[in-house]
């Protein structure tokens, strides 16, 4: 092998071309990202100027009077995404562990196909199913009883509508579970079998093997999977627009209607077409959404790095 390599003629030019091609493809990503950020911020500038810091802290969004306070939308976006993560992450990680560590290979493979398939279901299908099946079911059998019996917990108090923060969070959880699970499964599979065998050889049980050999090296991969799921949840538009009740307000009672940044952009864009300031404000919402994902991604990277250096 090594002799072959040494005998091979130097092909510098081919190498250079390849390197340039790869580098230019990679730089497209940077250009695209930078271009989008600059362009959207530029287009949104009139709205930022009009509302100042109130764009982020204001709680009233009324385009008809030129009041643009995005806080209720930011709140709705974060609440629904966090609810989705709380519900989805444990389930998704356990599914992935089952598929990669516990299930017999045949079953694991076919269940894996099903998980991949779920990840590919278009969000509008989730939205329609949510409207016609999930909302009536949840309202009668889950949200109503919860608010009747657990009203002392603020989250479940003052039930207002079947279309609410929790319904939207739940549909998001259903949408991101297969994504997180599919990535986690691939991450677990990158753990060398030697490590598993080593753990088992010193007498570890299956659970101890997973805890000692599989989970620690997979930690940054799991965080990355969660981040991807979070990104999908934050940006999900149609299903949430159908299910959250389209009423922007900030409340601790999550069985009330809300709205999110992405849903609101989709719902109001047609109305904004002929009103320059309104259009700028909607693009501004897009910039805020972009910033949220950026901040959370960076935070996640920092967490991973701190965890690894320890």
């Amino acid at each position: 092998m090594s002799a072959d390599l040494q005998d091979a003629p130097p092909r510098r030019s081919a190498d250079t071309i390849f390197r340039l091609a790869v580098a230019s493809c990679a730089s497209v990503v940077l250009l695209l990202l930078g271009g989008m950020l600059v362009r959207t911020t530029w287009s949104a500038w009139p709205a930022f100027q009009h509302s100042g810091i109130g764009f982020l802290t204001g709680t009233t969004w009324n385009p008809n009077t030129g009041t643009f306070g995005a806080l209720p939308y930011i709140y709705g976006t974060l609440v629904t995404s966090v609810v989705a993560l709380i519900l989805a992450v444990p389930v998704a990680v356990l599914i992935a562990l089952y598929l990669s560590e516990i299930a017999p290979p045949a079953i694991g493979t076919y269940l894996g196909y099903v998980v991949d398939l779920l990840a590919a279901v278009p969000s509008v299908v989730y939205g329609l199913w949510g409207v016609f099946v999930l909302v009536p079911f949840l309202t009668t059998y889950v949200w109503q009883p919860l608010s009747n019996h657990l009203a002392f917990i603020p989250i479940f108090a003052q039930f207002a509508s079947g279309r609410n923060f929790l319904t939207a969070g739940l549909i998001l959880a259903l949408m991101i579970t297969p994504i997180i699970s599919a990535i986690c499964r691939e991450v677990f599979r990158t753990v060398p079998n030697d490590e598993r065998e080593a753990a088992l050889a010193v007498g570890a049980t299956r659970w101890e093997m997973i805890r000692l050999a599989v989970l620690p090296p997979s930690r940054s991969g799991i965080v990355a999977a969660i981040m991807l799921g979070f990104g999908r949840a934050v940006g999900e538009t149609i299903a949430v627009a159908y299910l959250i009740g389209g009423f922007p307000h900030i409340t601790a009672h999550l069985l009330q209607q809300g709205s999110t940044i992405a849903a609101n952009i989709a719902l109001q864009f047609n109305e904004a077409a002929s009103q320059p300031l309104f259009k700028a404000a909607l693009i501004g919402l897009g910039v805020v959404l972009f910033a949220i994902t950026l901040i959370i991604n960076v935070a996640a990277r920092l967490i991973i790095r701190r965890g690894n250096s320890r």
């Binding site: 009233t60 969004w61 009324n62 385009p63 008809n64 009077t65 990669s100 290979p105 493979t109 991949d116 590919a120 409207v131 016609f132 909302v135 009536p136 309202t139 207002a160 509508s161 079947g162 279309r163 691939e186 599979r189 079998n193 598993r196 065998e197 627009a241 159908y242 009740g245 389209g246 009423f247 209607q257 709205s259 719902l267 109001q268 864009f269 047609n270 109305e271 077409a273 002929s274 009103q275």
Partner: protein, 373 residues
């Protein structure tokens, strides 16, 4: 141990296969998206050959059943070479796509605002005409098990949507419904979350009869609602109301009758309780003042006088450029519009729970269509 090692091998192979498949799926998706993008942007330039034309329109969900029927009949019975595609994306969407030049005509229940009109005219490079095509009613639908007959009036309805009347057995509602047992349940108002001509009609009515509404919310296709749950599209509101006990909402009458959702009678300006119907919409139009300028055929049918007039009546408009860019398409569009305004086609509207234009107005619209070049 050996079995584990073998599993590892299988896994890496299948993950390669999977990666390949994912790429293939992504590629197919990309192509589909591209095709969709091309067909929608290429739409307005479609149509070739002498007399053959594809005309694209979009907007009002309120009027969609009528336009889709007219488009189909025209193609099958009158001119096979002319294909009219109508997409029900909401009035706000209709105005926006027409302004951007994505479609050949827009459709809206709310006349364009001054801003919208000037934006549309500068992008079309022409005067934009409002063509009333049919009349219709906005029905107030509700979901109250055991209550099959309900009467409301403007002030009570506005107060419900202002969040001031919150219980079904509020004295203001009880007074209008003697002999009806109303529950003490909280009212669940449902409204359109997207930009909607139906919302425009409802808020016009509320603003006309409630000073509090006029000052706090006003007339808008997308008002800032003080309370309630938002749903998307007329069918979304219909679904939300039929699913939610104690709810109330508003949709074009056809969505209520086809979904078998009960709807309320409204007290009109003459103090009579009137249910939405073809007749009560015609009665509202009979009392309305008709516009005279063919470049501004906007009319207000909300809260009209007349014993039989239904207060939530409206005209619904098609938007066209007076100076068409593509002569061939312009001719085809004009022919279809003139055909739709003839009395047999107008009479069909009653089968879908709309009402035909009054004869005098129909004549005005015909002369407006004839002014299209």
């Amino acid at each position: 141990m050996t079995s584990q090692a073998r599993t590892g091998g299988d896994v890496s192979k299948s993950s390669h296969r999977r990666a390949g498949r994912t790429a293939a799926v992504a590629g197919a998706l990309g192509i589909a998206l591209l095709a969709a993008a091309c067909s929608s942007s290429g739409g307005s330039s479609g149509g070739s050959g002498s007399g053959a034309a594809t005309i694209n329109g979009a907007g009002s969900t309120f009027a969609a059943p009528m336009y889709q029927q007219w488009a189909g009949e025209y193609n099958s019975k009158v001119n096979k070479n002319v294909q009219i595609n109508y997409q029900a994306i909401g009035s706000g969407g209709g105005i926006s796509e027409f302004t951007q030049g994505i479609v050949d005509f827009g459709a809206t229940d709310a006349p364009m605002s001054a801003n919208e009109q000037s934006a549309a005219q500068s992008s079309q490079g022409s005067t934009v005409l409002h063509l009333p095509m049919i009349l219709g009613a906005v029905a107030i639908i509700y979901n109250l098990p055991g209550v099959s007959k309900l009467t409301l009036d403007g002030p009570a309805l506005a107060s419900i949507y202002l969040g001031k009347i919150t219980k079904w057995n509020d004295p203001a509602i009880k007074k209008l419904n003697p002999g009806v047992t109303l529950p003490s349940a909280a009212i669940q108002p449902v409204q359109r979350a997207d930009s909607s001509g139906t919302s425009y009609v409802v808020t016009s009515y509320f603003s006309a009869i409630s000073p509090a509404w006029a000052s706090q919310v006003g007339v808008s296709k997308a008002p800032s609602w003080p309370t309630g749950t938002g749903a998307t599209g007329s069918s979304g509101v219909a679904a939300a109301v039929s699913q939610t006990k104690d709810s109330i909402g508003y949709v074009e009458l056809g969505y209520a009758t086809s979904g078998k959702i009960p709807f309320a009678s409204l007290m009109n300006a003459s103090g009579k309780a009137v249910a939405p119907s073809t007749t009560s919409v015609e009665a509202a139009a009979a009392g309305a003042t008709l516009p005279t300028d063919i470049t501004a055929l906007k009319l207000n049918l909300v809260n009209q006088p007349g014993a039989g007039a239904y207060p939530l009546s409206t005209a619904t408009y098609i938007l066209v450029a007076q100076a068409q860019k593509d002569a061939n398409k312009g001719k085809a569009l004009k022919a279809w519009l003139l055909w739709s305004l003839k009395s047999p086609q107008q009479a069909e509207s009653t089968k879908l729970n709309y009402a035909p234009l009054p004869t005098a107005l129909d004549k005005l619209v015909v002369s407006a269509v004839n002014s299209v070049k």
